[in-house]
Symmetry: C2
Subunit: 406 residues, 2 copies
Amino acid sequence: RINGQRLWNSLMELAHIGATAKGGVKRLALTDLDRQGRDLVVGWAREAGMAVTVDRIGNVFMRRAGRDDSLAPIVTGSHVDTQPTGGKFDGNYGVLAGIEVVRTLNDHRIVTEAPVEVAIWTNEEGSRFVPVMMGSGVFCGAFSLDTAYAAQDVDGKTVREELERIGYLGGEEPGRHPIGAYFEAHIEQGPVLEDAGKVIGVVPAVMGLSWYDCTVSGMEAHAGPTPMGLRRDALQVAAGIMQEVVAIAHRYPPYGRGTVGMVQVFPNSRNVIPGEVKFSIDLRNVNDELLDTMHEEMLAFVAKTRRETGLGIELERVSYYPPCTFHPVCVDAVRAATGKLGYSTMDVVSGAGHDAIYAARVAPSGMIFVPCKDGISHNEIEDAQPAHLEAGCNVLLHAMLERAGV
Amino acid sequence: RINGQRLWNSLMELAHIGATAKGGVKRLALTDLDRQGRDLVVGWAREAGMAVTVDRIGNVFMRRAGRDDSLAPIVTGSHVDTQPTGGKFDGNYGVLAGIEVVRTLNDHRIVTEAPVEVAIWTNEEGSRFVPVMMGSGVFCGAFSLDTAYAAQDVDGKTVREELERIGYLGGEEPGRHPIGAYFEAHIEQGPVLEDAGKVIGVVPAVMGLSWYDCTVSGMEAHAGPTPMGLRRDALQVAAGIMQEVVAIAHRYPPYGRGTVGMVQVFPNSRNVIPGEVKFSIDLRNVNDELLDTMHEEMLAFVAKTRRETGLGIELERVSYYPPCTFHPVCVDAVRAATGKLGYSTMDVVSGAGHDAIYAARVAPSGMIFVPCKDGISHNEIEDAQPAHLEAGCNVLLHAMLERAGV
Ligand SMILES: NC(=O)NCCC(=O)O
Ligand SMILES: NC(=O)NCCC(=O)O
């Protein structure tokens, strides 16, 4: 069994880096704080005797040798970047649970057949740069390294220059790194486990996701003299589309999701009719056909609005991955470990994307969920119980041992 | 008659300060560029032999002595601050038309009975700081100097510190400055004159205005796992209120106006359900009772939305002035000058607020409108014809002479 207190202490120490006044964390991808977070974890890995390599998209692999070091490693991991108003557990838990697994193996001088590795994937959150889950996406070939390098934040800084600046532009070719099997422990980020009073979520599948940038172009004009009938108000047209995003999701329950999270209004002055509005659209579903239908309905609504209003509307898809089903070998390993340890459990479909869905394209993969308070994540008040985090880490340990062999 | 070419040249020279790539001007109130704009105009005034005083809210009065210097001066003026994506004429025209009037009086060695003054009022636009029309508002006692000093821009900089920084925190007590009559020349900023093919707009009245800050507070949560039915999405609720702002205006034609120009979403991340949205509301009408009704309907809709959604919604009024009717003495002076000069003319209600409406509280006041291209203002493509600007300035000259006496 792992050391729950040690895991908790590491989580709290990492949470100091980028800590916010409201008890959360702001550690956006490829910022100085991201560097500090990575450095702290890498330091811990070295103390635990692990060897560290970094690939060209900044993914970090921290390796504990196996008896047969030519075997493909059994990998776990997640990310240490956070949302602008994020919590202490999202991502960080998966990485530190991996470190705790290795520390536990060291404590008990256990030698695994295959090597065991812990990965830190770059820019999982997708807040600062799209595509989301960038490091694992490049790793599995979902999009190219050049696409990722060229991604810019709102200030025009690119992924490539920021990777170099923080010293995490490694030399290894992404994807060259072998993976025998991949597991990821994560807080659920939704209310299902807590509502059902279960400790461990076995994750059979992850919803697919479609992200868009929508730009509505109207005509800037003075808010006073311009008659209502002559306006080309980009914000009013945008508001109608924003509402449709949610309406579409409501039409495809129970797994349809629709969110507008980001909005920019130009010129953003009180007495100017907005000339341009840019906003993000996030559509999800666990069923691929329904996600396609939602996509089509979005396109149709935009086309209709364009016709009816005469305003310019552009809709560009900026991220997409289909729903993902995890490999039975890994799902069963998680289920078996949970049973052996005697934790209450249920299956939970993931609404959040995770690096595991890209890992699943190159190796058998599975996930372990633990409850989070009120199902709240992507919020500074995100919280989780030490006992649940410990349980998830124990399941991770046993699932990995089952795959790695002792 | 004034010198139209000289007026145009001065307008184009001033438009260099803060010139934008699209041919507009960005010269926000109390920035370094505002200082440069003021310095240029003040320099021209000194060359024309005028004496300059600055009051404690940064209003500048440039004085040409009269034969009887104890008489209250006949004042004209406007502002040199602009919108973030503003034009070359809004405000700037009114100030430079005043300078051109003085230059013309000098050319012809005309001595007026009363002194003639040109005013630059501080922060008319209200883009960077509210209340809007701040300098003239403090001058006429619509709100206090302390209220104005405490106003902050989005970065937390105050009016008082910015006035000091740019060197325009003067010593004169605002409002102490006597005004015998006030005239203001301005582009119409709407389509009425151009549509009717008229050159001069006589302005009987200005719409009243109510500005609000609205804040909707929901609950940040993850855009994937959070079921649609459990969301407290601040943006969706805000979108409904934004649409109602426009719907209210449509219910009170022809002079009802409703605009949402400024929006901020928190935390503004693609995969986070917005926890808070702040936005501005601008309601206008030329009829005071209807403006009140619009205000009441806004409050009622917000209350209803609060009840129905359970989200927190705050609505704070941040600027207000009632509709304004100009003094017959000044309106008639404008009308008479227009007739004498033979320009085509019509009455035009102003949808934009102007410093003249605050001047009107302390002295008889009137305005002169000239057409602008396609009725577009608060836009970098704002444009006006040299011949129209010249005509408006001639009317200003003769209306002022009529009041000042020769
Ligand atoms: N786990 C997580 O928060 N991932 C971010 C990508 C997403 O929006 O699902
Ligand atoms: N003239 C002008 O643009 N004034 C700004 C105040 C308003 O919004 O009416």
